[in-house]
């Protein structure tokens, strides 16, 4: 198993206008390499939700996309804080800590993390005050 495609994207804090740019690029990259539409859709939904989370909750960060030759897509969302105090609560549908500004723009419905978990094959989240790391895995050949 070796990585045959590697890309990094930077996400900027509070950049509501540019939010979604990285997911859009991920979508077009995976589209051009012929990932089956159903998996594409899951990747698109998960990456968009996770990217938006980084914009509204965290202080920005880095998204890493890795595709291996045996058909595993790995997405890592690494931000620099402030972390999620109670992950279990954050995974409950409808729970949200989004501020007024984010809500007024239509974000923060509390469906982000639950939706991400629903569409991924493997989901792992680690959080501390220094930041949150979300690891998402999708299998192309199933």
């Amino acid at each position: 198993m070796s990585v045959i495609l590697h890309k990094e994207f930077e996400v900027i804090k509070d950049d509501y206008i540019g939010a979604g740019r990285a997911s859009s690029e991920i979508k077009s990259i995976l589209g051009s390499v012929g990932i089956p539409p159903k998996i594409m859709r899951n990747v698109a939904v998960a990456s968009y939700e996770a990217e938006i989370n980084m914009v509204i909750h965290a202080t920005g960060g880095i998204i890493t996309l890795d595709v291996t030759d045996d058909g595993v897509i790995k997405l890592v969302f690494h931000d620099n804080g402030p972390g999620i105090p109670d992950i279990k609560k954050a995974l409950t549908p409808g729970f949200s800590t989004a501020n007024e500004k984010a809500r007024s723009l239509g974000f923060g419905a509390g469906m982000g993390l639950p939706n991400i978990r629903r569409v991924t094959d493997e989901f792992d989240i680690q959080s501390s005050e220094d930041g949150t790391i979300i690891n998402l895995t999708f299998y192309v050949n199933e």
Binding site: I4, G20, S24, S32, V33, I35, A44
Partner: protein, 393 residues
């Protein structure tokens, strides 16, 4: 099934300004050996290049009226959008008469079919658990099958109104050699016929471009009147808002808005809607490139034309579906091969300046890199690089 492009290129008119290449939303145009090449696999017939070209180098033509002689009996289909441009029933009667004088045996409208299609989409969406996309525009259907495969399952495969009408006419006059001519208000609809574009599996025989035919229609105006009447429901097909359930339906018009709706639904952001109507032209089909009206006057016209009561006609359910939609194109190469190619393209892309200037004849540097990998172009074809290298030596 993949349809052919209706866009024709004239070398003599082309000034090589590259405007069309830059405007193409699907990157279907490129320049090779000083001429524009339309990639039929990518082209969705949206007509943006036609509007962008100020020298009439790119045009979409329909059939000519000379084709009328090939049939025993000829029928012209008038689009609902054109009818809604008439101020009242007198004017509509005048228009129908003027069209008939061009040599048609019968002139019919498809307003009732249009309205029934909208209602059918409504019913299907209310029974569905997922968001459905209804588009009676071939452009949207092509874009989704070519660029957004993950939404393929969402498309309601209802047939186009001109096709349903053509089948009905052919059944009615089964004993005659009947020719169905569809009058088209935009470039995209010209593909919905056997000729001139050569899409053999359509039931309409010929597509006529309103832009070509309208001067002739105008000459025949004020020479007489046909008796015409329309049902109110039929006329309202020009404004789906009057037919659909308003609460959970999203209507988007204009190419850019349609693109963002498609993008957003890929992220699953529009799941609260049951049905989406997508119209790449502003104001839907009344904003077709070959029409001139605006939505303000058309609302007025619709009310005026529908004053006399006429019962709407209903058609058989199975007749409304189509098998003519594009299938997703399958690439036979493996996932690994494609990623290798992708990395190769990226390596070349790093060498290119990244201005997306189109001077090489490709829309963007990425497409140039792709063409270099496919050996269609050479790194030397990059105008910017050759200038920079010339400066060095």
């Amino acid at each position: 099934m993949n349809t052919k492009s209706v866009i024709n290129y004239t070398l003599e008119s082309c000034v090589r300004c590259m405007k069309c290449i830059k405007a193409c939303p699907t990157s279907a145009l490129s320049m090779k050996d000083n001429r524009i090449i339309v990639n039929t696999k990518e082209c969705v017939n949206c007509g943006r290049c036609v509007r962008e070209c100020h020298n009439k180098g790119l045009l979409a033509h329909g059939s000519t009226l000379a084709d009328l002689d090939n049939y025993e009996y000829t029928v012209c289909l008038v689009p609902s959008a054109l009818i809604s441009h008439c101020k009242n029933l007198d004017e509509a009667g005048d228009l129908f008469h003027a069209i008939k004088l061009l040599g048609f045996d019968e002139v019919i409208d498809v307003t009732d079919i249009d309205a029934q299609l909208l209602e059918e989409a409504n019913i299907l969406a209310s029974e569905s658990n997922t968001t459905l996309i209804a588009s009676f525009c071939p452009v949207v259907n092509h874009i989704i099958s070519k660029k957004h495969e993950m939404l393929m399952d969402s498309i309601i495969q209802l047939d186009y109104s001109s096709e349903i009408a053509a089948r009905m006419i052919k059944r009615k006059y089964a004993d005659k050699n009947v020719g169905v001519f569809n009058l088209c208000e935009c470039e995209a609809k010209i593909e919905l016929a056997k000729y001139p574009s050569g899409n053999d599996n359509y039931d309409c025989d010929h597509a006529l471009a309103l832009a070509d035919i309208f001067p002739l229609i105008r000459k025949n105006m004020h020479l007489g009147k046909e008796k015409v009447s329309f049902s109110k429901r039929g006329l309202q097909s020009c404004n789906p808002m009057r037919i659909v359930h308003k609460d959970n339906t999203l209507i988007a018009d204009g190419f850019d808005k349609v693109s963002s709706v498609i993008d957003m639904s890929e992220y699953g952001l529009l799941n609260e809607f049951k049905l989406m109507y997508l119209y790449p032209c502003f104001n839907g089909c009344i904003g077709g490139h070959m029409l001139w009206g605006n939505s303000f006057s058309i609302q007025n016209n619709i009310d005026e034309l529908g004053k006399e009561y006429k019962a709407p006609s209903n058609y058989e359910f199975e007749d409304l579906f189509s098998n003519k939609y594009d299938e997703s194109t399958t690439d036979t190469r493996s996932f690994k091969e494609r990623i290798n190619e992708f990395n190769e393209i990226n390596a070349i892309l790093d060498k290119l300046p990244g201005y997306d200037c189109s001077a090489c004849g490709m829309q963007t540097c990425r497409l140039m890199a792709e063409a270099i990998v496919n050996k269609e172009k050479d790194l030397k074809d990059c105008q910017i690089l050759s200038v920079l290298e010339g400066g060095k030596s």
